[in-house]
Symmetry: C2
Subunit: 193 residues, 2 copies
DNA sequence: GTCTATAAAAAGATAGAC
DNA sequence: GTCTATCTTTTTATAGAC
């Protein structure tokens, strides 16, 4: 799974990415990472200064991946309205939640600048990128000219993030789908669809 | 703070409520609860079977409080649209986040039925109560008749939950305010405001 | 009913052999 | 570069005095 031709350092980072997504920072032990990566304790301390340092590398990599996915989605063809809706309705494993958003409820992450930074930057970047799409949509007269791009973009990202919370609470992806459908429906209406 | 005329059991539950909100379940140690409540270790094991049992009592109490707040808000005077908007724009300490919603990113909570139940029930109840308000608004012709009450209600609660995530990521309440304003604006438009 | 003392396990980190 | 052995602290839980 994790040790097919990858070097030790890469395996450690990949496993840490998965465990941070599944269990968060505080609830993930170094030992669990080492076991899953089939690596001895000494190797981690050779490549990293400790658990926090490894987690920082893992979060940076997850942040880059998430940003790349969003970048591809928002740069695709289609009208502005279509691209905003496609961000909302993109196929997601909603019970897994967001690997960046979930970190905001990990007290140790909030208290550790190098762990919080990738989270803040990634979510901030996505809101900004969506706001740009909305601005284009206003110029193209797809959205009403009174539309506040930053507010609409924030609402879209918040709906997705909050949809994860609702779905995980019910252990049912339908709760996520309902929230997203509600947002998409309102956006289509105001765009005159 | 916590030991002014309250009995030991009550103090333990109140402190546990606060710490679960601040740090979650896994990251809160029994010792931290006992210290803040000024209670010896033996007392906790006299009143509760252990940390999980105390946390379950604390979450039940927080769930009841949160539901009571929402109940009061949604039962207030005003049109349906006004009541939905008032839920969105209610004054909140947005950097603190939601004491129920945050638990969905605590792996131990998801794996422990007695801890997950109050979370699932409370968020489910709020979505249902908001959907009822929307249904009244459709009958009163405030909302378009094609409006899906469950979807709109889910979107409203998700916007709030996701707004917390955005605000905590940026450590800035403005991110929450923007998301909520975006949702309120779309709802007012579709309601012909 | 409340306390302290203690146990047993798990955590993060270090030392040093290979 | 990687491993195992060990140390220190913290965590949850139990025992038993008062």
């Amino acid at each position: 799974m994790y040790n097919l031709g990858m070097d030790t350092r890469t395996r450690l980072v990949n496993v840490a990415q998965d465990l941070l997504w599944e269990r968060g920072y505080a609830a993930t032990s170094s030992k669990e990472i080492l076991n899953r990566a089939n690596v001895g304790q000494g190797s981690m301390y050779h490549h990293f200064s400790g658990k926090r340092d490894l987690a920082a590398a893992a979060l940076e990599q997850s942040a880059a991946a998430m940003r790349a996915e969003a970048e591809a989605l928002l740069a695709a063809d289609g009208t502005s309205v279509e691209r905003v809706i496609s961000y909302l309705e993109r196929q997601r494993d909603s019970l897994r939640g967001c690997r960046m958003g979930r970190m905001t409820y990990d007290a140790d992450v909030l208290a550790t600048p190098e762990l919080l930074r990738p989270v803040a930057e990634t979510l901030g970047w996505i809101v900004g990128a969506l706001a740009d799409v909305v601005r284009q949509g206003i110029e193209a007269r797809e959205f009403r000219h009174e539309t506040d791009p930053e507010q609409l973009a924030s609402m879209v990202v918040a709906t997705v993030q909050g949809g994860y919370v609702l779905a995980r609470a019910q252990q049912n992806p339908a709760a996520f789908d309902a929230a997203v459908a509600g947002a998409a429906s309102l956006i289509r209406q105001q765009a005159g669809g």
